[in-house]
Structure formats: C-alpha cells, structure tokens
Symmetry: C2
Subunit: 229 residues, 2 copies
DNA sequence: CGTGGGGTTGATACAGTTCAAGATACGTGG
DNA sequence: CCACGTATCTTGAACTGTATCAACCCCACG
C-alpha cells in the first residue's frame, strides 16, 4: 500500500486511535484494492479471510437459499463488513459483491484478531463498528416485519431524498431488480408500488424520481426513527 | 447481591476473565432481580439504563409501529440484551418484557461503558456477546426474507425438537399468539400452518406436538445452517 | 354452571408472486 | 446516424400466500 493510501486509511474511525505500532501491523498486511462491478468478494458459508471496508463505490450484501437470492443491504463508504464473522472466526452468513466499481480495504482476519487482543483503542473502535452494524440489521428486520412493501418503498424514498441532498429528487443509482430485492419485493411489484405512490406525490422524471408533495408522502410512509435512518 | 449470586454471575462468560477489581466495580452496582411474567423491562425509544442478562426464565424482545407489534426474539438464559444500545449510549430499538417468571441481572450502563474502556478481557467478552447477537439477527432477517410462513414454522419445529432433547416431541412452552408473531404470521395462520404440516409427519398430542416423520419434515423444511441454529 | 380467553375454522379480501407479453432504453455494428 | 438486438422495465391476468373478520369451540376458573 502506498503512503497516500495508508494516510487515508489512518483517518478511518476504526484506526484513528490505534497506536502506531499496531496500526503498522494491521496495514502492512492489508490490501487496498480496486474491483470492477459484479465481483464476488465473499461467499456465504466460507470462513472470512479479511475484514473488509468499502472505501469507494458500492457493495451489495446478499444471501441465497433454495435457489432464491435476497439482497440484505447495500453498503457505501465507509462501512466495515463481516466484522462479526472475523472476530469469532466463524463462517460468513452472507455473500458480498461489488455493485459499482469499488475500492476495498482488506485486512487479514488473523491480524485483526491479533491486534484486537492487544490494542484497547482498536477493540473499542471495532465494537463500535459492530454495534452500528448490529443496529442496522435490527432496523431492517423491523422494517420487514412491521411494514408492507409499498411502505418500505415510500420510506426508502424519503431516506434517499435526504441522503441525496433534500432537493426533492432521487436518482436511481442502482438497478431496479437490486433495489426491489433489497426492499423485499419482486421487480414487478416495485414497478406497481412506484405507480401507487403517484397518489402521494411521487413522479418519474426520466432516469430519476421526483417527490412533488413530500408531506403527502410522509403521511403515507409514516417514517419512524426507530426503524429508518 | 448476595455472595452466592455474585459467585454465579462470576461464572458467566461475560465476566469469566475480568479482573477482580473491575468485576467488583460492575457487580457492586448491579442488581439480580426477579420479575413476574408480563413485566416490561425496556421500552423502545428510551436510553438504556442497564445492560440486561437473562439468568432464568424467558424474555421477549418486541417492537411496535403504527399500532402493530411484532416479536423479534425470545431469549433464554444466559443471553445478554441490548448490548449495542448500552455501548453506544443510544436509544433502544426494541422493547423487552418477561414472558415467564424471570431472573434478570441488571448492570448499570455507565459502569459497563466504564469497565469496558479499562478492561480488555471484558471488552473482548462484550464484543463476542455482541457478535453472537448480531449473527442471530442476521439469521432472523434471512429467515424472514427467504422463507414463507410454513417453512419458518417447520424449521422452528426442527430447532425446538433438537433443543428439547431430540425425542421427537416439542412442548409449546409459550403461547401461540407470541409464537406466531415471533415467526412472522398471525395466530390464525399458525393454526393453519400446523395443520398443513400434518402432511409432513407433525401431529398434535395434547398440549404438545409430535414429529412422527422427521425425514419428511426435514425434506419440506430444508434446514440451512446459515439461517437456523 | 356460566363466563372468558386462547385457539381453531371458515369465508372473504387483499397483498404479493408468477408467467407472459409488450414497451422502453441502450449499446453495437453496419 | 440509423437499425438492430439485448437488457431492463412495465403492464396485464391468473394464482398463491397471508391477513382479516366473524363464528365457534374448548377448557380453565370463578
């Protein structure tokens, strides 16, 4: 890894307070690597070789069962993934693949466990990371169990609108089949649900969506800070 | 807390390797308390006052939204709950109530964060705990998204059968409305799904269930080590 | 012996999936 | 720059899964 890259990595929350020697130990064994879209990084059922961090691009977490596949989450920078499997050295429960071209930091799992045991600051940062990710999955489970598919879509729109700058527009930067799966519905249903939401002030304007009446959409979506965000 | 109790707590995985001074610090502020069934221990949206550990009995984790309620998990001894909220000092994302009479160890959140910062063994144990819980929620999410309600019930039966001693019987020790919600279905649907499973060798024998043809049930349920267990 | 809560059953309605066909967009090569 | 072929998305119709509402049953308990 080059100096500029290593300096960038040093600023990540996970490494900020780690002591110099331990940081070097982690980073000297690590790779910062670019991947084209569609590359499988992790396969569920395998033991994890690396702790992964999305530095750039998009990564999709997904899982398969009985010839069905579902998207569990879509990660953006700077998210850590499969921390639990790495720490416990147990098989990954989900697969990961790049959605867009991505840059991923790969830290060998043994180095992570090793430094984790000796560096309290790293341990704390990792716990924090783990806790954040844990709460994300909890929210997803609640989203699935407490809302129907149209409500999930409506709330996703509200979150995306905020994330993309509160300008009442949402660019669809992932393809619709992926989004549909992430939201727990079929692509056909996503189409129909979007059509449904025109009743609540959502319209298609070319490649992206416009929210013309955000109050109406909010009233329908019933956003909840204990599920969304 | 009495000496006998404190000795019991000392044997919990979370405290096993904590140094004596820190253990005392945690335990001297803690309560080991008995609760009757139906007592709400935690309300979602509140900041956590204590890290909880089920020492005896059953605790139900649930969440509400838009006048609907869903059971997220049912905890048995010796499970830690709301570790993520305690560590991050953020609002709880789920509520908890006793299902059966229960004994709960309550450790004040500030003490947990405090010792966590100074005791590496405790930090490691807590991370481990967090990682275990994290993986449970991941499994639940996959279960919800990749299976229909009859399959969820079938797999729950297989797991319970194993947990209750592999003797082809499953005692229903929680009421059916709670089980239904935990499995993501209505009580009516649980009834119908159970009836469905008679095709696969499941029968009711009084208060509990019998699995007469476990191979048939397995064939239908398609258990998956990356979802169940 | 009634009363009530939990459980079951039936009828119906709604949500969501599936399959098939059509529309639209997009990149490629002529 | 257009024509074509392929991807992706949309629409429609039929079907399956699940929820809802209402009636009924059953047993425990006063």
């Amino acid at each position: 890894m080059r100096q500029a890259e290593s300096d960038l990595v040093r600023t990540l929350p996970l490494f900020k307070d780690v002591n110099e020697k331990h940081f070097y130990e982690l980073i000297s064994a690590a790779f910062l690597q670019r991947f084209p879209p569609g590359v499988t990084l992790i396969r569920e059922g395998n033991l994890p070789d690396f702790l992964h961090i999305v530095v750039e691009g998009k990564v999709e977490l997904f899982a398969s069962h009985d010839s069905h596949e579902t998207v569990l989450d879509i990660l953006e920078p700077l998210t850590t993934f499969i921390p639990a499997a790495v720490i416990r050295d147990e098989v990954c429960l989900k697969s990961a693949r790049t959605l867009a071209a991505a840059q991923i930091l790969l830290i060998p799992a043994p180095a992570v466990r090793d430094v984790f045991d000796r560096d309290a600051a790293f341990a704390r940062a990792l716990v924090n990371e783990l806790a954040v990710r844990y709460r994300c999955v909890e929210r997803s489970l609640k989203n699935e169990k407490l809302r129907n598919s149209t409500e999930r879509l409506a709330n996703w729109l509200l979150q995306e609108e905020a994330r993309q700058g509160n300008n009442r527009r949402v660019a669809l930067d992932i393809d619709k089949r992926t989004l549909a799966s992430r939201l727990g519905m079929t692509p056909e249903n996503l189409s129909r649900n979007l059509a449904q939401l025109s009743k609540h002030g959502v319209s298609k304007s070319g490649a992206d969506l416009a929210i013309n009446d955000i109050d109406s959409l909010r009233k329908f979506a019933k956003p909840n800070s204990l599920i969304d965000q």
